[in-house]
């Protein structure tokens, strides 16, 4: 809960805490939790430790199988084709009752394994990386442009989506990130854009009963750019949906199978007016022009910078912080490296009182980092995340995962964290020195009550579980 943050006046001159404290904050608040020795490393120059992680070429790529979305798209189509053939063979049976043959079953298992491997590769990167601020920054944007496993075709594309459309762009201009996300097959299938067809386009005649779908247009406005209070209306949503018609994914029969295509013949002809701006008749350029204007809109700066501050600093961040980020966003034309730097340089972000409660993903990764290890298998990771309400690649809506303490510090969530901490401790604690771990995890953030509880525990396991369940470890 934002107790300190909200009580502070924006104008007050803020002083930074000691270097030692800043090192602990750098690693726990901006990063994903301390690996052994990480706080020590950050001590010399805590802010420099973070700014050094900002780089033009983007975030790191997880060590996965490297398949592109086009590869995955084709594999999924082959599997679906196989299923269809089987279904026809079992003529007369309702589709749900037609059990898959071994071949189709195997194909399905393969695809599911690939999705799980994508997730595991990302988690391993998070557990191992020394540049954990960079990784957090990438995770923030992956959640901002949420793509979730609601459809089979989308689920196999989430890993490639983060790799192709998010990670390379997170320290570049926001417009490029927005365009990459809005034209990626994962997003186009997740929010039904791929099938949307202009009601007066040439494609309509051929494909009877097909037409507009406004899902992506609405969520770009509401979630990705200007935000719900920017004053747009239903007519703006519909107009934007018309402008986006033609943004689609190449079919099996086309050259660019599984890649972004612009379907000229599905594009709604005519000029559009969106948020009071006029867009002349045009093909793909029309939609891209709207995206460009949305990216540059001051409402977007306000909406997204507010989210950045709430993600990294506090559920109720000080106004002075959000305004500072917003200013840097506008001055730099949405340069995300500049905004990241502004965040690190903001004194409001270094308040020694931790205001954020770790999400289940952040929490579990930080326990692996604590012992300098990584999850060895998907099955080590998925059940706890699902149990805590954050099932892998399955955000509940296009809004993405919640990031506030109210959501995650629930009675049931805390009990489940404790049960997991007990199990994790049973597996790893016997090889550790809990007192040393407490210091290496929290540095000067370790409070006397926690240090005392850890040192007085009856067993290493109990000590370990107390440490990872302590308020200090669960907050950042």
């Amino acid at each position: 809960m934002g107790n300190v943050a909200t009580s502070r006046k924006g104008e007050r001159r803020l002083s930074l805490p000691s270097k030692d404290m800043m090192a602990a904050i750098a690693v726990t608040r901006f990063g994903l939790g301390a690996r052994p020795g990480e706080i020590e490393t950050a001590k010399a120059d805590p802010q420099g430790f973070l700014t050094a992680q900002i780089r033009r070429e983007g975030a790191d790529l997880p060590q996965d199988d490297g398949e592109t979305s086009a590869d995955r798209f084709q594999q999924m189509r082959e599997y679906q084709e196989q299923k269809k053939v089987e279904r026809q063979r079992k003529d007369g049976q309702p589709p749900v009752a037609a059990a898959a043959t071994p071949a189709a079953k195997e194909a399905r298992r393969d695809l599911r394994d690939k999705v799980n491997d994508d997730f595991l590769a990302r988690a391993r990167l998070g557990a191992n990386t020394p540049a954990d601020f960079r990784e957090r920054w990438a995770l923030f944007w992956a959640n901002h442009f949420t793509v979730s496993s609601t459809k089979q075709i989308t689920s196999v594309l989430i890993g490639p989506f983060e790799r192709e459309a998010i990670r390379p762009y997170v320290f570049g201009g926001f417009e490029n990130l927005l365009v990459a996300s809005s034209t990626h097959p994962a997003m186009l299938t997740y929010l039904d854009q791929a099938q949307s067809i202009g009601p007066n386009s040439r494609a309509v005649g051929r494909r009877g009963g097909k037409g507009l779908n406004e899902n992506l247009a609405r969520e770009i406005l509401e979630l990705h750019t200007v935000g719900v209070d920017a004053g747009y209306r239903q007519a703006d949503v519909t107009e934007f949906a018309r402008a986006l018609t033609g943004f689609s994914v190449g079919r099996d029969t086309e050259d660019r199978v599984g890649q972004f295509v612009f379907r000229e013949n599905a594009h709604e002809p005519g000029a559009r007016t969106i948020l009071g701006r006029h867009y002349g008749q045009g093909d793909i350029k029309q939609g891209l022009a709207v995206l460009k204007d949305l990216a540059a809109d001051p409402h977007t700066a306000r909406h997204v910078c507010g989210k950045i501050a709430r993600h990294f600093v506090s559920d109720a961040p000080p106004k002075s912080l959000t305004e500072r980020l917003e200013r840097r966003w506008m001055d730099s034309g949405g340069d995300l490296a500049a905004v990241a730097k502004a965040l690190v340089e903001s004194p409001e972000a270094w308040d020694p009182t931790p205001a954020k409660f770790k999400t289940p993903y952040e929490y579990t990764l930080s326990t692996w980092r604590l012992i300098g290890a990584e999850p060895s298998a998907y099955e080590r990771l998925a059940p706890i995340l699902t149990g805590l309400g954050q099932k892998p690649f399955s955000a509940p809506s296009p809004k993405g995962w919640a990031e506030d303490a109210q959501t995650w510090a629930s009675p049931d969530g805390l009990v489940k964290r404790m049960q997991w901490a007990q199990g994790f401790a049973a597996a790893v604690a016997d090889r550790t020195d809990p007192n040393a771990l407490a210091l290496s995890a929290l540095g000067p953030r370790l409070t006397p009550p926690v240090a005392k509880a850890v040192s007085r525990a009856e067993t290493r396991r109990e000590a370990f579980a107390l440490l990872v369940m302590s308020p200090e470890f669960q907050r950042r």
Partner: protein
């Protein structure tokens, strides 16, 4: 809601009910001992994503229905018939059976006061009970607990790991989802309670979580002892709530598991509520209703899960079903017309379900505006005729016994225009 949206019949109905309901309520409140009220139960099911009312209770008798819906229209002979106008979706078998015995009713054109068609805004308004977005920071079920606190202690529970906004607020409500159970022999829970003693957030939440877990063990033990209702131990992985059995790689087996998990979830919740000191008020969320494309199959799965939850709840509550009201609502309905991709986009009014043994039999709740083009809201959506806050207020007053003045001032401020729906129980 403007006066324009309320047609003549609803105004007359309100006028007539006002005088009667006041005196009726007065006498009922007077007659009812606290003991009676303490048995009353309320379950709110939040269907997230914008549930399509025209699929929940297809108005197959409305002459404009088939034309608007095109490829996703349900055939009259396939729906479960309610009356000359409405049927229920074929997957809502439990709801239909209950409706046949007067224990389920539909509100076919219900909406929150929000008109923005944004999931997130509309869910906020549904859960805060405010008249507009950002109107309140706490949930109306939590404020209900608060309003009841001076009279009697009422427990609230949400099903699922994360606490939904509707139950957030000053009173620490419980949350629960199936899991491993707590090792009673470990010292850890006690040590952690010590460690959290001065933590205003973790302290109360953790204590509440432990209490609920203990209750869950009791509920589960009690149910396992009943052969007819053999609910498996909580450690069964398939007890994950249906919300998380998303459509990824869904197949027949997963679908059956999903229904089974949903049924167990419902019966476990029922088991909770019949425990001594168990929650009287509970909230449960079901997601996956955002059917922009390929709606027919998707919504059938989601509605079958909802039906299974309700079936489980009915079974789990046993004899206490007669003291229960269940309300299922969504943040908004969907467009009346099918869109270009075999789905529907964000709309306005939807169908609410009201069920329970405490319910009085009757027809539809609120008015049916019809689907004629001139009747559609913004020539697009089912027009709202009933503010859902009116339904909530009516049930809270008449069923749970919440003080009228507290309802208007605390639980649903700025809701004077949404008159309580009376005569439901």
């Amino acid at each position: 809601m403007t006066a324009q949206m309320m047609n003549r019949r609803s105004l007359l109905g309100l006028g007539a009910s006002l005088g009667i309901s006041v005196s009726f309520l007065g006498s009922q409140a007077f007659a009812a001992s606290e003991g009676d009220l303490a048995k009353k139960k309320l379950v709110v099911v939040i269907c997230r994503g914008g549930m399509d009312g025209l699929s929940v209770s297809p108005p197959v008798g409305d002459r404009d229905y088939a034309g608007l819906r095109g490829s996703i229209a349900l055939q009259p002979e396939h729906v479960l018939k309610l009356d000359e106008t409405f049927g229920l979706h074929p997957e809502l078998k439990t709801v239909h059976a209950l409706a046949t015995s007067g224990q389920a009713r539909i509100a076919p054109a219900i909406a929150s006061p929000d008109r923005a068609r944004s999931h997130f805004e509309a869910q906020d308004v549904l859960e805060t009970g405010a008249s507009g977005v950002y109107g309140a920071e706490t949930g109306w079920l939590n404020r209900t607990l608060e309003a009841l606190a001076p009279v009697r202690k009422v427990e609230g529970l949400s099903v699922g790991t994360t606490a939904p906004l509707i139950l957030r607020g000053k009173i620490q409500a419980a949350s629960w989802s199936p899991g491993k159970g707590v090792d009673e022999t470990a010292r850890l829970p006690t040590l952690l309670q010590d460690l959290y003693r001065n933590d205003p957030m973790l302290g109360p939440a953790f204590a509440r979580g432990l209490e609920t877990e203990t209750m869950a063990q009791q509920a589960m033990t009690a149910m396992a002892a009943t052969p007819a209702m053999n609910v498996a131990a909580a450690s069964t992985p398939s007890m994950a709530p249906p919300a998380s059995t998303s459509a990824t790689m869904a197949n027949d087996r997963q679908y059956r598991q999903g229904s089974e998990a949903a049924r167990k979830l419902g019966s476990t919740l029922g088991g909770f509520m019949i425990q001594a000191g168990g929650p009287q008020i509970a909230a449960i969320s079901l997601d996956g209703f955002d059917t922009h494309a390929g709606q027919l199959g998707q919504i059938a799965t989601r509605l079958s899960y909802m039906d299974a939850v309700l079936d489980g709840l009915h079974t789990g509550l046993g004899a206490e079903w007669k003291n229960t009201v269940v309300i299922a609502v969504t943040e908004f309905g969907r467009t009346a017309r099918v869109n270009g991709t075999g789905g529907t986009d964000h709309g306005t009014a939807s169908t609410g379900l009201i069920l329970g043994g405490a319910l009085k039999p009757g027809g539809i709740v609120g008015d049916w505006p019809g689907l004629a083009q001139s009747a559609l809201f913004e020539n697009r959506d089912t027009a709202p005729t009933l503010d859902m806050r009116g339904l909530f207020k009516g049930v809270l007053a008449d069923h749970i016994g919440v003080d009228r003045a507290a309802l208007e001032s605390k639980v649903f401020p700025d809701s004077a225009a949404a008159k309580p729906v009376t005569g439901l129980v």
